[in-house]
Amino acid sequence: MKYPDISFEPFFTWVNRPRVMYAPGVRSEVGYEMDLLGGTKALIITDKGLVKAGVVDLICEAVKKSDLEVVGIFDEILQDARINLINQGADFYRKHRADCMIVVGGGSVMDTAKAVNILIGGGHEDFQPLADQAGLWEGAQPLPPHIAFPTTAGTGCEVTNAMVVLDEKAHAKLSVTHPYCNADIAMLDPELTVKLPPKITAFTGMDALTHAIEGITSKGAEPIGDALALHAIRLICKYLPLAVSEPENVDARGNMLISSTLAGMCFTNTLTGAVHAMAHSLGALYGIPHGLANSILLPHVMEFNLAEQPERFRMIADAMGLDVGKMDPLKAGRAAVKAVRELQAGIGLKETLKDFGVPQDREALMPLVELAASDGQISYNPRYAEEEDILNLYLKAR
């Protein structure tokens, strides 16, 4: 396809701090790299599932071959970064006299670890007031050494400078940003992801696709983000079905990890849109895993946004491998939506919001709608979404 005339934010900045290292088995470099960062006593932050699956053992074995010492494993993390667990994690870090962290996990683990590091670096004990402040840029300083191993290919949290925290009291998800919260080094080791069950592989992969599609259509879209997101889409469409059907396929797993990181680098700069705003509410009120909520909402929100950014949706269709040469932008955009639905079906994602007890009654939906309408990401949706629009999108996704 010939590159179209594309408008973008006339003034933008782009930043990405972490160094990314990729290789099957790259975990063998963790001791050397942590030494360069100045860490000597590492706390591993993870969850019980990854300990049980033996993934944490793989990291410990790699560490043993270096001078780095593992002083503790904090594996209490549950779905979503929770303030009480963040505070507990920081306490655990201090009690074990750690001076650096190795993070092994998906989005909830990586976001919890970011917040723990902010508490450690700033000498704080309670994350709640920091979460309430939302933007932690004033006076921010570099944090203690932090290496992350993502074990899902979806969130891109290893490179994003934000974390989403579940405020259980307020029944809301809060986005908090800090310039140094992401990992100093993101180590992409596909061998750590081969035991991920097909279902989680599928919806975390759709999370990455959502980041790429919302990143490229966001009101903050710009050319650097476009380049990253388009390649992420190419990789996801090729390798996600393979990663689901052949879990031990390290090549497919590796390309999915790369695509997730690319999409993360994009959306941490461009931000996202209505899918994320609405998925945050579904996570806060119905406990739907973020990637799955994104997946369910994505085609509906794409349809809603199509007419606003037709050329950008045409680029998405092209990156998905569709022959858009003779299609007008709207037709190409509709083809992209269809291709997303086919991808979902092909990887076994058939859920709708009805499966999670989301009601049909308009009044009962209002708490979800109000939460989504006040989520910061909604401002970046390419089409202005009124509460009525959000309500209708929830109903369509049901």
């Binding site: 007031p129 309430d132 402040q133 939302a134 933007g135 004033e138 310039p179 006040s374 401002s379 202005y384």
Partner: protein
């Protein structure tokens, strides 16, 4: 300053917008839900260049200068960037990351209003027109 003859002009424009906003029941209701004393501190553009909005306890009041109590939230920015922000021409996330907006206190309530900035900008521009400052409206 790029947009203002003096800092008082900026304060006048923001106060006028809040005066007009009081006619919009939906926005008033949303602001009351914030339930905070907010101080928009533009003093880097001149002494006294600031506006407070008190949404506490189901009330809504506003005024110029220093707030009546210790604010729950202070947002510090220049009067020019305030003009861009109220005109919906400032990317708030980028502004925070570039430290053009500095936030002190709990911002979660006010951030819930951020998606309504497009509606707020309509009142801001109307206020500028009412004040005879149509030339200041950002396209």
């Amino acid at each position: 300053m790029e947009f203002w003859k003096d800092s008082q002009e900026a304060v006048t424009a923001v106060l006028k917008m809040h005066e007009l906003l009081m006619e919009d029941a939906e926005l008033v209701n949303s602001m009351k839900k914030v339930n905070q004393l907010i101080w928009y501190d533009y003093t880097e553009s001149g002494p006294g260049c600031a506006v407070w909005v008190d949404c506490r306890g189901g009330n809504l009041a506003f005024g110029a200068g220093d707030p009546p109590d210790k604010p729950d939230l202070t947002m510090s920015l220049s009067a020019d960037d305030a003009h861009r922000a109220w005109s919906d021409k400032l990317n708030p996330v980028m502004a925070i990351t570039r430290k053009k907006i500095r936030v002190k206190g709990s911002a979660t309530g006010l951030l819930k209003l951020a998606p309504k900035i497009k509606k707020v900008a309509v009142y801001y521009n109307k206020g500028l027109r009412d004040l005879g400052w149509e030339d200041k409206i950002l396209k």
